[in-house]
């Protein structure tokens, strides 16, 4: 166990012609992203409590939940438009209510709590949340601001470290990744809330990281092989970094997997989205970011030492 590695993903002299599939990759990606955008507008994301406002009460009833009884208990308190839903075990109930124009969501949540415990004595309230309409609008604005600013800062950073062709193709790829993640959220019905914004930002960070590694190698090879056609050079760079790309995505995947399986209601949606994002982010580095760089950089990217003014290049 102390000695040499037992496994590896690909042999060291692997030469897969990834760029042969460049049109295919872009077309598949475009189709998936367009489908995701359509899904985004119709039926649209399921907004979580953070962004929608309203109340959520999670209760564990004594014995199996009696939905008819709970419903009539709520109706007696003039709460008629609540949605009751079983989740997990038969004694787990989830009660939701939209904020609407009602300003006193916090008073409503107390009423619901009381109605439920009175209807089925011995019920424990696991969670009772209320978010007012003004706060949810604010949380949404802040979430989107964080997302937008992160994208912008990633763009600026790559711009500084690489040439603009790299930065632009990376950000286009990131936007495509983002749309697919949205599509994933619509299809799975995972709630879009602040925790999900955190997941998306982590995916963006991870995906950028992956692209930076491939681009780093492209830049290095541009200086090393002055005459190699760009398409072969990008292929070479992807193949050289393939073991690392697969290795790192595997470890992040392995780290997030237990969270998806046992993380509980709060985190499993977050973790599944992360897992999806890792797969998308890894494949997009190879099939989207690289071809985009090829199209944008053909005949334009600087080669060799004579045309390498960027001080960053001396370091690597």
């Amino acid at each position: 166990m102390f000695g040499r590695p037992l496994l590896r993903f690909v042999r060291k002299d692997t030469q897969i012609n990834f760029m042969r599939g460049r049109y295919m990759g872009l077309i598949v990606s475009a189709v998936l992203s367009i489908a995701s955008i359509i899904l985004f507008f119709h039926p649209g994301l399921t907004l979580g409590l953070d962004f929608r406002g309203g109340i959520v009460v999670e209760a564990k009833t004594s014995g199996p939940a009696d939905f008819a009884k709970l419903r009539s208990a709520l109706a007696a308190q003039h709460i008629s438009h609540a949605s009751l839903q079983a989740f997990g075990a038969p004694d787990d109930v989830l009660i939701r209510l939209d904020a609407g124009d009602d300003q006193n969501t916090d008073a409503v949540v107390d009423t619901v709590r009381r109605a439920v415990t009175e209807a089925q004595p011995g019920t424990t309230i696991l969670r009772a949340d209320a978010v007012g309409a003004s706060v949810s609008a604010e949380l949404f604005r802040n979430g989107m601001l964080a997302l937008g600013l992160s994208l912008a800062m990633i763009l600026v950073y790559i711009w500084f470290r690489f040439e603009w062709e790299f930065a632009l193709s990376a950000v286009i790829t990131l936007v495509l990744d983002l749309t697919k993640t949205m599509g994933f959220l619509v299809i799975t019905g995972f709630e879009f809330d602040l925790v999900m914004v955190a997941a998306i930002l982590t995916i963006l960070g991870y995906s950028t990281n992956d692209k930076v590694v491939v681009y780093d190698r492209v830049r290095e090879n541009l200086r090393k092989y002055r005459t190699m056609p760009l398409i072969d050079l990008i292929n070479l760079s992807i193949n050289e970094t393939l073991n690392r790309t697969l290795g790192t995505s595997s470890t992040v995947f392995l780290a997030a997997l237990p969270l998806a399986l046992w993380g509980g209601a709060t985190l499993s949606g977050f973790a599944w989205t992360m897992l999806f994002g890792i797969v998308v982010g890894t494949s997009s580095s190879i099939f989207i970011a690289a071809p985009l760089l090829l199209f944008m950089g053909e005949g334009r990217l600087k080669r060799g030492a004579k045309a390498g003014p960027a001080p960053a290049q001396q370091k690597s």
């Binding site: 309230i125 003004s134 979430g143 600013l149 290095e220 790192t248 595997s250 392995l254 780290a255």
Partner: protein, 519 residues
């Protein structure tokens, strides 16, 4: 490739220090005098309630305008200047009136300009185009008053919550007009909300005995509803406050000796005592209303002058209500009403489940990554695993040092950091492999591997760092915990991979000087 003993010792020292800093989380404080910092569990892990409360600043301005209108009326009357239609406009923050005679307008302005101001330049007095005279509150004064009101509210909220015996409450300001109240262990915050939702402004005012005024109150008299509607309709009460609740020094819940009902007894300070005795001396036989938040609790008839500065309120209370009212009177009145705009309560059982789920995921995830690294990278994989363990220790150490709050998303952040942390090791190892494949000697391969990988490692971590700083700045609640752990995790990752695991590899190489590397 060469690391001096000093460098080696300092890196190991940092790791040991980290281990030491982790200790407080797992054991009790052995001696009372040593610093003992530990990670706090977030409300989602230990159960409890989070309340985001908004201070109603509009009502604050409105209150001040009302007082200003009253002062205007009194001053003009005293100076024998006539006026019509005193009007409070809360949207424009003005009090305006029509002077009796346009010729008197300048005298009106000069007189009113001498009214006392709470802060310099609080308001200005102006003649307006339509002939009215307006007192306009300045924006700065409103802002200053709001800031002061929030600070004051926090103090009073703290006193009220402390009075309930809640353990470790956290009360903090958020933004300009919000207060965050965190109550560990209290998963049903209804009583606390009731306590905080009452401003508890108490005033003692005379009741207008003219029966006609009960239906058509003249200026200076308002109809105030009874707290208990069963006791009758609204009472005409003079706006003038004879004694203010702020002059109370103490209050307590007691059982009334004669009726056996719960009551709240109170005592005044010297100012209150003097005011109370002078009012009760000159108004024997009249009704004296005790008004709490614009509702009459009771309005007893003054039978004899009360000069001792003590009194009792009986308003049909039960034990809880009497205790809470006494608590609020002791803690003082809130300057403005507070409303709950966000509430999250988590029961203790859910919190315990979350801790279990988090620790299980963290353990399994850590193990999977460790095994992966050994299978794919052999000896250098073990070194990466040691660095990973050090990484976890340092993360916990820094979180303890900051006495940070660990939330469930924070645990997820730790786990993801561990997944990402080995990236740096993978980059180094793959690079060394390539260099070996190109036919370099082991020493040269390791050296180039370290060098080339470093810039990539810094680049990739910098982007992740930027994304999570944004999340920390704009996120709220548990998401901030997530961003914080990842940001700390990036720093510890750079330390453990660029220093520790590299050092381990270099030290190993220095001993056997192997002819080939285990890559």
């Amino acid at each position: 490739m060469y690391y001096s003993r000093l460098k080696l010792a300092s890196v190991l020292g940092v790791c040991l220090l980290g281990l030491l800093l982790c200790l407080p989380n797992g054991m009790r404080k052995p001696f009372p005098s040593i610093p003992w910092r530990q990670i706090h569990l977030g409300l989602d892990l230990r159960g409890g309630s989070y309340l985001l409360m908004q201070v109603d600043l509009k009502s604050l301005t409105h209150d001040r305008l009302q007082t200003l209108a009253e002062n205007t009326r009194d001053t003009l009357l005293k100076s024998q200047l006539g006026y019509q239609n005193i009007n409070v406009d809360a949207d424009k923050n003005t009090v305006s009136f029509q002077p009796r005679d346009a010729a008197e307008a300048d005298t009106d302005v000069a007189t009113l300009d001498k009214l006392p101001r709470v802060v310099p330049n609080e308001f200005s007095v102006k003649k307006q185009d339509d002939g009215t005279i307006a007192l306009v509150l300045s924006a700065d004064a409103i802002k200053a008053r709001a800031r002061e009101a929030v600070t004051q509210s926090i103090e009073i909220v703290r006193r009220r919550i402390d009075g309930t015996g809640a353990v470790d409450p956290e009360i903090t300001r958020q933004g300009d007009d919000r207060i965050v109240v965190e109550l560990p262990g209290i998963s049903d915050p209804e009583r606390i909300k009731a306590l905080l939702g009452t401003t508890a402004k108490m005033t003692f005012r005379l009741v207008d005995s003219n029966p006609l005024h009960a239906t058509y109150p003249p200026p200076g008299v308002s109809l105030v509803p009874m707290a208990n509607p069963a006791e009758g309709g609204p009472l005409p009460v003079f706006d003038h406050v004879d004694v203010d609740g702020t002059d109370l020094t103490n209050a307590g819940a007691v059982i009334d000796q004669q009726t056996g009902e719960w009551a709240v007894s109170f005592s005044f300070d010297s100012v209150g005592t003097r005011a109370f005795s002078s009012v009760t001396q000159t108004n024997v036989g009249k009704r004296f209303a005790i008004v709490l938040d614009n509702k009459v609790i009771e309005a007893p008839v003054i039978r004899t002058p009360i000069t001792g500065g003590n009194g009792q309120i009986t308003g049909g209370f039960d034990a809880q209500k009497a205790t809470d009212l006494a608590l609020m009177l002791r803690a003082g009145a809130l300057p403005a009403p507070l409303s709950v705009v966000e509430q999250r309560s988590i029961g203790p059982s859910l919190g315990a489940d979350s801790i279990r789920a988090g620790i299980l995921s963290l353990g399994v995830g850590f193990l999977l990554v460790v095994v992966f690294m050994v299978l794919f990278y052999g000896r250098f994989g073990w070194y990466a695993d040691i660095a990973l363990l050090a990484n976890l220790v340092l993360m916990v150490a820094i979180l303890s040092l900051f006495e940070a709050t660990l939330t469930l998303p924070g645990m997820a952040g730790m786990l993801l950091t561990l997944g990402m942390a080995v990236d740096a090791n993978i980059l180094i190892n793959e690079r060394i492999r390539e260099e070996v494949a190109r036919g370099r000697t082991p020493l040269a391969a390791m050296q180039t591997g370290f060098e080339r990988a470093t810039s990539t490692i810094v680049d990739s971590n910098a982007t992740a760092f930027l994304a999570h700083v944004m999340l920390f700045v704009f996120g709220t609640g548990p998401v901030r915990g997530f961003a914080l752990t990842i940001t700390i995790g990036i720093a510890t990752t750079l330390f453990t991979t660029l220093l520790l695991s590299r050092m381990l590899m270099a030290r190993w190489y220095a001993r056997p000087r192997p002819a080939s590397l285990p890559v």
